[in-house]
């Protein structure tokens, strides 16, 4: 398509203007985090920047502890829900167990259902069995949510994968278990990576479930810790900004390396709904 030089220039202007708008709030916190501490005495800094703010925020805001909790919660949720999703997606998509369609619709219900709908009874029932204020109260509901999406995601993959290949494996004497793990799962690697990345991000960023389920400071996840830090630390913005950067960084790093999986996953996952 041929476009005039003027139009091209205008396009670049729009592109840059829009990207600047998208980056503005993020740049604000990154620059504040690197600036001189507006609350306390600041060191000399390095080339006018103050990376020591991050160390200070880490110490004052207990972010090490929050990141550790988030990491445990996210890794356990990802591992368990991805394995369970592969199994149930295989049952619904490739093995086609009787009643697969109604079960699939039940899982779809879970994808659409907001956490707000179930969080209240879940809290009181988990309190009755003594699970609130444990890491399990944060992990188990999120595994359930991730299995709903994951089953749907893996089912779609297994349905589209080659029937002939499964047949060939079976004729070679492979049972359904071996067919799954040595034929289908290696083929499904990109789909599984996307699922892993999405579940990790959703779990890391989740706010309502840990907010409701956890009282102990030691069990706060990173976003929850940041929200409390904002409420308590009112001396200035620098350390809060540094804390916000600390909370966001792990996912942003993942995003930089695996952005195709993030974007494709979020768009396709949505389209398939």
């Amino acid at each position: 398509m041929r476009v005039s030089a003027g139009e091209r220039l205008a396009n670049y202007a729009i592109l840059i203007g829009f990207a600047a708008f998208a980056i503005w709030p993020i740049a604000t916190i990154v620059l504040s985090a690197l600036g001189p501490d507006d609350a306390g005495t600041s060191g000399a800094g390095v080339l006018g920047l103050h990376p020591e703010n991050f160390a200070e925020a880490w110490r004052v805001g207990h972010f090490g502890q929050y990141l550790r909790t988030s990491l445990v919660v996210s890794v356990v949720t990802v591992l368990v829900s991805v394995v369970l999703s592969i199994l149930s997606g295989y049952a619904l998509g490739a093995l086609r167990v009787p009643g697969a369609t109604p079960v699939f619709y039940l899982f779809l219900l879970g994808i659409m259902m907001p956490s707000e709908a179930i969080i209240v009874p879940l809290y009181y029932d988990l309190r009755t069995v003594g699970l609130t204020d444990t890491i399990w109260a944060v992990i188990l509901p999120q595994i359930a949510q991730s299995v709903a999406f994951g089953t749907f995601w893996m089912r779609a993959f297994f349905r589209s994968s080659s029937r002939a290949l499964v047949e060939a494996a079976r004729l070679d004497g492979a049972g359904p278990w071996r067919t799954l793990w040595s034929v289908l799962v290696p083929l499904a690697r990109p789909a599984i990576v996307t699922l892993t990345v999405l579940v990790f991000m959703w779990t890391w960023n989740e706010f309502l479930i840990p907010l409701v389920m956890v009282v102990s400071e030691g069990l706060r996840t990173a976003p929850l810790g940041l929200a409390f830090f904002q409420g308590q630390y009112t001396q200035g913005f620098t350390l809060l900004a540094a804390g916000a950067c600390i909370v966001a960084t792990p996912i942003v790093i993942l995003y930089v390396f695996l952005q195709r999986h993030f974007i494709a996953g979020m768009l396709e996952g949505a389209v398939r709904e």
Partner: protein, 303 residues
């Protein structure tokens, strides 16, 4: 949406395929899902028929009163009204910005489009709490937005945006617009990328200018993507919780109170558990209806 369906006529699989053992694969995932999502949903329906303060041993059966209260109670009605306002900011505005933006970018095939995509999609992967912290700073009396206004001489407009009765809800809404526009644009761009070039050539041979080209070719071709974008963003608007919790906690007054926040507030702050679950159930039903309606319209338009 259509992609999940199809595959009919593949039959029920070859004979001799192990079928009952298939349930063993399904079972672990389904059990966790049933225990921590399906069962609580049933319990939510049950809770919503009672009045209970969350602490005492006694609860009173009140039938559907918690539901009728949603229509009768002025603050609750207002909170659903606020959700409607947020839908405009989360869904309509991003679409109005994203459509021309994606059209321009798709037409010109400019360089650096990949980098642009990465940047505008970035808000989607950042925790809402972090986003809320950043925007609170921008909206602060001495924050970036007021600095920018003073810079262009609009000092009279400068204010504490999130503390202002008139402006707080719109200020929260603009964060939603900022958050969703990148997603909508990237979604539309991927749809437009799939439009065959011949369609444009044919339109141009018919003498269509850029505007007619947009309405005759581009817009009809991305109806499916528009439906998806609307579904996602409308649901996000209805589910606004983290953002309100961190920026305004429903205030000033109740001017930014939204249904999701009411669920939390009533259940865990006010000890009104029945009402909280009734709002949660209503929210689920509304989300269900909206996504069904939007997808029906989208399907009809594409078929």
């Amino acid at each position: 949406m259509a992609r999940a369906r199809g595959g009919a006529g593949r039959g029920s699989g070859p004979p001799g395929e192990p079928r009952l053992s298939g349930y063993l694969y399904l079972l672990p995932g389904f059990l966790v899902y049933a225990a921590f999502l399906l069962y609580p949903l049933g319990r939510a329906a049950q809770f919503s028929l009672y009045e209970w303060d969350g602490a005492s041993a006694e609860s009173t059966f009140v039938g559907l009163r918690n539901y009728s209260e949603i229509l009768g109670d002025a603050t609750l009605r207002a909170s659903f009204g606020h959700a409607l306002v947020l839908m405009f900011f989360y869904a309509v505005l991003p679409l109005l910005i994203g459509l021309p933006l994606a059209t321009i970018l798709n037409r010109a095939k400019v360089r650096g489009l990949g980098f642009f995509r990465t940047v505008v999609f970035l808000p989607q992967v950042i925790a809402m709490v972090v986003i809320a912290v950043a925007w609170r700073r921008l909206y602060a009396p001495e924050g970036g937005l007021n600095d920018a206004l003073r810079l262009v001489g609009l000092d009279s407009l400068a204010r504490g945006w999130l503390g202002d009765y008139t402006w707080a809800l719109s200020a929260v809404g603009v964060i939603g617009t900022w958050f969703e526009t990148g997603l909508v644009t990237v979604l539309l761009l991927s749809g437009m990328g799939r439009i065959p070039g011949e369609l444009y050539e044919a339109a141009r041979l018919d003498g269509a200018g850029p505007v007619r080209e947009f309405f005759a070719v581009t817009l009809p071709s991305v109806r499916g993507e528009i439906a998806v974008a609307l579904t996602l963003t409308v649901i996000a608007a209805l589910r606004t919780f983290d953002l309100v919790y961190v920026t305004t906690t429903g205030g000033p007054g109740t001017s930014t109170m939204v249904p999701s926040f009411e669920v939390y507030n009533r259940a865990f702050e006010q000890g009104n558990v029945g009402s909280a679950t009734a709002i949660g159930v209503t929210l689920t039903v509304v989300i269900f209806l909206i996504s069904t309606v939007i997808n029906r319209i989208g399907d009809r338009a594409t078929s």
